[in-house]
Amino acid sequence: MPNLSLVKNPMPEQEPAVRARNFQEVALGYTAEMAVNEADRCLHCKNSPCVSGCPVNVPIPDFIAKIREGDIIGAYHLIRSQNALPAICGRVCPQESQCESKCVRGIKGEPVAIGRLERFAADTAMAEGAAAAEKKPACGKRAAVIGSGPAGLTCAGELAKAGWDVTIYEALHTAGGVLMYGIPEFRLPKALVSREIEGLKSLGVKIVTNAVAGKAFTVDELLEEGNDAVFIGSGAGLPNFQKIPGESLCGVYSANEFLTRLNLMKAYTFPEHDTPVKIGSRVAVIGGGNVAMDAARCAKRLGAEVTIVYRRSEKEMPARAEEVHHAREEGIIFWMLTAPTAIEGDENGFVKSMKCIEMELGEPDERGRRRPVPIAGSEFELPVETVIVAIGNSPNPLIKKTTPDLPTEKWGGIQADASGRTGKKHVYAGGDAVTGAATVILAMGAGKKAAAAILEDHPN
């Protein structure tokens, strides 16, 4: 008889008032007892609708069955067979719009907490030092992977398991891409990302840091040097600005800069680490996505009063429901239907306020989201010392510039089909570099598909 509770086992979390003052992980993870109890809620539907919602096809009911039996390591290996980075996905996947959105239990009540169970299995296996994934003998084929974010790591892992000799080239000094520089410690501990990356290294994957594709080497050179295939997973790293007056004032950051200072450079420990971050007592974050939530919650932890300014309503916010909920709990203020029009500075060139205008929703745009329209005469001024712009990123042009025969979209994305094949022979691409800014799991799905295409196109 399954557990018929209509609600998930709640996730133990740090108290909002406590966690809003530290950078430690917010969600603490299930105990074994909670995990088994939650696993009991799974009905093991014959057609497994949840699996169809997973970009990497994790055998969800099977791993949940293993947890129920108490075979956590077995559960981990089942997840690991399809997902290279389970401890990461269990934390940052938008399960509510993927696997859990298809769960039959979700029709009446809450779906099974698939993400929390995935995390439990991965964390338990890591703590117990579960064996690395199995690997085929070396096949003599070589691949270069550009970028060590979720797309690149996944592609590299899949190819290494198939016996390929894989080298990842990373521009920054630390591997992990957005997992290291973007997503904050309190949502995804960096030690955990490092451990997942060590797992890939134990499969034989080599990682070269401080290696900027398009500068230190080109895609063509990688092919000439004997790589059978090149995968480009360089992400969408170029921050967008609003092009409103005052964006160059001191105190205006792109979310990328603000988060990189904190996450990659550990500025929240300054002066223990050498990189500073400067923040006022009042901070405005522009945008409504996960990155905006991350930036806002980081600013809060540095002691600021934080306001999120978003031009549409909460319904249109692209951030995960859980992130918005956590942000609210921590005391972040939300100003919906509000758009900034200018940032004002003091006589020394530092931000002193942000001018805004209220919006209302008009007709839907081409993507079906209702377009925000300014309300005449509703202008007002928000006093702030720091403004963080989190309105999205564009692909980095360095590779495009130095690989003239690689077809790209007008907006800079690399053209690739659903399997990751680009218009250039032996060159594959996936993740944000192709789709524009999206999620970790979609990038992982793309890396995995591209690896399959590479294996198909380069048979032994």
Binding site: A171, L172, H173, Y181, T209, N210, A211, V212, K215, A216, F217, G237, L238, P239, F241, K243, E247, S248, L249, C250, G251, Y253, S254, N256, E257, T260, R261, M265, K266, F270, P271, E272, H273, D274, T275, P276, K278, N348, G349, F350, N396, P397, L398
Partner: protein
């Protein structure tokens, strides 16, 4: 790790280091820069490439002790290693179409002006190299500079080398005396580059400046290095570091350069106490 294979003190505030970094040396060109990090706790700091040896796989940097990290870098010796050293970053300086150039270097800018002057000189251009120092004891790279140009003019603020004045005054004099330049390249502190650009603007001489703002990644990711050039936002790391001096908003760049000054002071205090072991 990136070993320091040669260290040379050029003057009391300026040091040269040759660093083993084959991946950077392979592609480096004049005008490009690197970013280094001393250790795991270190910040990422950009420095212009002063020279490179593709065969040895080394890159030369010249730095002035102006802040916490450069002071700390100066304590490293031959045989020590840097944690990180990435590049070449930025666009190389353009040399095409330049036949008669004045290359202006002020302070540490001299170290950056040197490879640019040399590249132009090697490409057959006539190059007047005008460099400035506070006094004659601070003059660096004199032999190298001499070999990298047609005419070398060294100015000192106090006149201790017998040639008193600022680089802008020297440039003005050259032009007044009838020297014709198709291009002026100015590298150094922002006020100097601004002054040169203002001087050449009415004369309509193409003027290129090399910008060195605060940045983190150096690949276009953080946007911290943004500048306003001709009314548009540009990233110094990927669009530059060279820009048209007549289009750069120098006042904004100067304001942005002051953003972290108090934090810099705090980091230096920590440095002092680490070096001396004294409690503050």
């Amino acid at each position: 790790m990136y070993p320091i294979i040669r260290k040379k003190v050029l003057n009391e505030t300026t040091t040269l280091m040759e660093v083993e970094a084959p991946l950077v040396a392979r592609k480096a060109r004049p005008g490009q820069f690197i970013i280094f990090r001393i250790d795991e706790e270190g910040e990422r700091v950009p420095l212009t490439i002063a020279g490179y040896d593709r065969e040895k796989g080394t890159v030369t940097i010249i730095f002035q002790k102006v802040g916490y990290t450069t002071e700390k870098l100066d304590t490293l010796q031959e045989g020590d290693s840097l944690q990180d050293f990435v590049g070449p970053l930025g666009e190389p300086s353009a040399t095409e179409g330049i036949h008669r150039a004045a290359v202006i270097g002020g302070g540490l800018g001299v170290a950056i002006a040197y490879p640019q002057a040399k590249a132009l000189h090697d490409a057959g251009a006539e190059v007047d190299l005008i460099v400035g120092f506070r006094n004659e004891h601070l003059i660096i790279l004199q032999e190298e500079l001499q070999a990298a140009c047609t005419n070398l003019i060294i100015m000192t603020d106090d006149g201790s080398n017998g040639n008193k004045g600022f680089v802008t005054q020297a440039l003005e004099k050259q032009i007044r005396d009838g020297r014709e330049y198709d291009t002026v390249i100015a590298i150094g502190p922002l006020p100097m580059m601004k002054a040169v650009s203002e001087m050449t603007r009415p004369l309509k001489i193409r003027t290129i400046v090399s910008m060195n703002p605060i940045m983190i990644d150096g690949t276009g990711m953080c946007g911290g290095c943004r500048l306003t050039v001709g009314g548009e936002t540009k990233f110094a790391c990927v669009d530059g570091p060279d820009f048209d001096g007549h289009l750069v908003d120098f006042d904004e760049a100067m304001a942005r350069g002051r953003m972290f000054r108090p934090e810099e002071a705090r980091a230096r205090e920590k440095h002092t106490c680490r070096l001396t072991g004294e409690a503050r």
